[in-house]
C-alpha cells in the first residue's frame, strides 16, 4: 500500500489544468522513536517526485523530512487540454519507485 498514488486532474481557466495528487507513504523522518523499544524508527520518505504532461517534465521536486505522512501535492500547469496525460512518479530514500497516471478531464 505504501506509495499508492491517486491523481485528479481537471481543466480550470483557459489552458490551465489543476492537478491534485494524494500519495500514500509513511514519510518517516528518522527522528521518531519507537515507543516500546526506544529505538529510532529509520528514515523512510519520498525524496524525488516528478510530474509530466504528455511525457514532458513539468514539475520536479526534491522532498525532505518536512513533508508529512500521506503527502498531498497540488499544482497548476499551462498548455493542457482535456484528454492530455498526466504522469506522476516518485522515488523514496530506500530506492522504491512509485508511479501513476491520469487523463485530464
Amino acid at each position: 500500500m505504501a506509495g499508492e498514488i491517486q491523481i485528479r486532474a481537471r481543466m480550470t481557466n483557459g489552458d490551465v489544468a489543476e492537478v491534485k495528487v494524494l500519495l500514500t507513504h509513511v514519510m518517516e523522518t528518522g527522528s521518531r522513536k519507537d515507543a516500546r523499544t526506544n529505538n529510532l524508527i529509520p528514515a523512510h520518505f519520498i525524496n524525488q517526485i516528478t510530474a509530466t504532461l504528455n511525457g514532458k517534465t513539468v514539475l520536479e521536486g526534491q522532498w525532505g523530512t518536512g513533508v508529512s505522512k500521506n503527502p498531498f501535492l497540488g499544482f497548476r500547469v499551462k498548455g493542457a487540454k482535456p484528454g492530455d496525460f498526466i504522469a506522476v512518479s516518485a522515488v523514496d530514500n530506500l530506492g522504491a519507485k512509485f508511479a501513476h497516471d491520469a487523463i485530464i478531464i
Binding site: 491517486q6 485528479r8 491534485k20 494524494l22 498531498f72
Partner: protein, 275 residues
C-alpha cells in the same frame, strides 16, 4: 444571554404544558425561528456547514479541501472493512435495508422493545453480534472508519429521525435536558453557546448552530484525525471543564437522539473536513 435562554426554555415549557401535541416538532420549529432571527443571512440548508456558513473565506477553503480530501485514504480503508465478508460469508450490507444505502439517515431511533435509543454505531455492533463476529470498541479507529464509509453511502439523504411513543419521547426529553443543563466547573450548557450565541466569536472561532450539527459525523479534523459525534461530545465537555460521559452511555445516546432530530430535513454528508 441568560434572558434569551430563559425565554426559550419558558416557551418550550409552556408549549409542553399547554398543548397535547407540543413536543419535538414544536421545539424544532422554535429553534428554526430562533436561528432565522439570530443568523438571518444563512440559508436553512447551509446549517450543515456550521461555522463555515458564517465565513465565506473559510467556506472556500473547505470546498477546496473537499475536492480531494486526505481522508480519501481513510474512506477506502472503511470501505474495505464494510465489504469484507464475515466468517459466515455474510456482509454488513445484509443487516441494513437496501444494503445500507441511505440507511444512516434514520439513526438514531428509539427501539420500543429494547427500551432504548439505538445509534448507527449500535447497529454496526448489533450486525457483528448477529453474525457471531467480535464487536468494535466505541471510539476505536475501526468503528470510525467503518461508520465513515457506511454513512458516506447515505450522502445527501435527508435526516429523518422519528420520535413516536412514550419511550421515544422520554429519551428525547432526556437528551434535550442534557443539552440545556448547566454542568461542570464553568457551569456551561450546550445551549448557552450553540443556541444563544451561535455566530458569535469564542476566541478565534465562531460558534456553530445546533441545527445541522449532527449531519456530518465522523469528521476529519485537519483532514486526518477521525472524530465521531460522541467523540466530539467528550472533547467539548473537556473544553468546558465538564466531566465527560462514557461513549455509548445512555446520556450520550439520548443527546445524540435529540441533536439528530433537530437536524431533520437536512442532507447528510459524511465524512467532512474540519480544521
Amino acid at each position: 444571554m441568560q434572558h434569551r435562554l430563559k425565554s426559550i426554555l419558558t416557551l418550550l415549557l409552556l408549549s409542553t404544558s399547554i398543548g397535547a401535541h407540543a413536543g419535538p416538532e414544536e421545539d424544532r420549529s422554535a429553534l428554526i425561528e430562533h436561528y432565522r432571527k439570530q443568523l438571518p443571512n444563512i440559508k436553512f440548508e447551509d446549517y450543515v456547514y456550521g461555522a463555515l456558513a458564517m465565513n465565506a473565506e473559510a467556506k472556500l477553503q473547505y470546498d477546496e479541501m473537499m475536492e480531494f480530501p486526505p481522508f480519501t485514504l481513510d474512506l477506502r480503508q472503511g470501505e474495505a472493512i464494510w465489504e469484507k465478508p464475515f466468517s459466515n460469508g455474510e456482509k454488513f450490507s445484509s443487516c441494513f435495508k437496501y444494503g445500507g444505502f441511505n440507511a444512516a439517515a434514520n439513526y438514531p431511533y428509539f427501539d420500543d422493545t429494547a427500551g432504548r435509543v439505538i445509534t448507527f454505531e449500535n447497529a454496526i455492533n448489533d450486525c457483528l453480534k448477529a453474525n457471531k463476529e467480535p464487536e468494535f470498541k466505541y471510539g476505536s479507529r475501526e468503528m470510525a472508519l467503518v461508520t465513515s464509509y457506511a454513512k458516506n453511502i447515505s450522502n445527501n439523504a435527508k435526516i429523518n429521525i422519528k420520535v413516536k411513543g412514550p419511550g421515544a419521547l422520554a429519551a428525547y426529553d432526556k437528551g434535550k435536558r442534557i443539552y440545556y443543563e448547566r454542568r461542570g466547573q464553568l457551569n456551561f450548557n450546550c445551549a448557552g453557546c450553540h443556541v444563544d450565541n451561535a455566530g458569535k466569536f469564542l476566541r478565534n472561532d465562531q460558534l456553530s448552530m445546533l441545527i445541522g450539527a449532527a449531519s456530518h459525523w465522523p469528521t476529519y479534523r485537519s483532514g486526518t484525525e477521525a472524530v465521531t459525534m460522541q467523540g466530539r461530545f467528550v472533547q467539548c465537555n473537556t473544553l468546558t471543564r465538564t466531566e465527560p460521559r462514557a461513549l455509548n452511555s445512555e446520556d450520550y445516546n439520548n443527546l445524540e437522539y435529540f441533536m439528530t432530530y433537530m437536524s431533520n430535513g437536512l442532507k447528510m454528508q459524511t465524512p467532512v473536513f474540519r480544521k
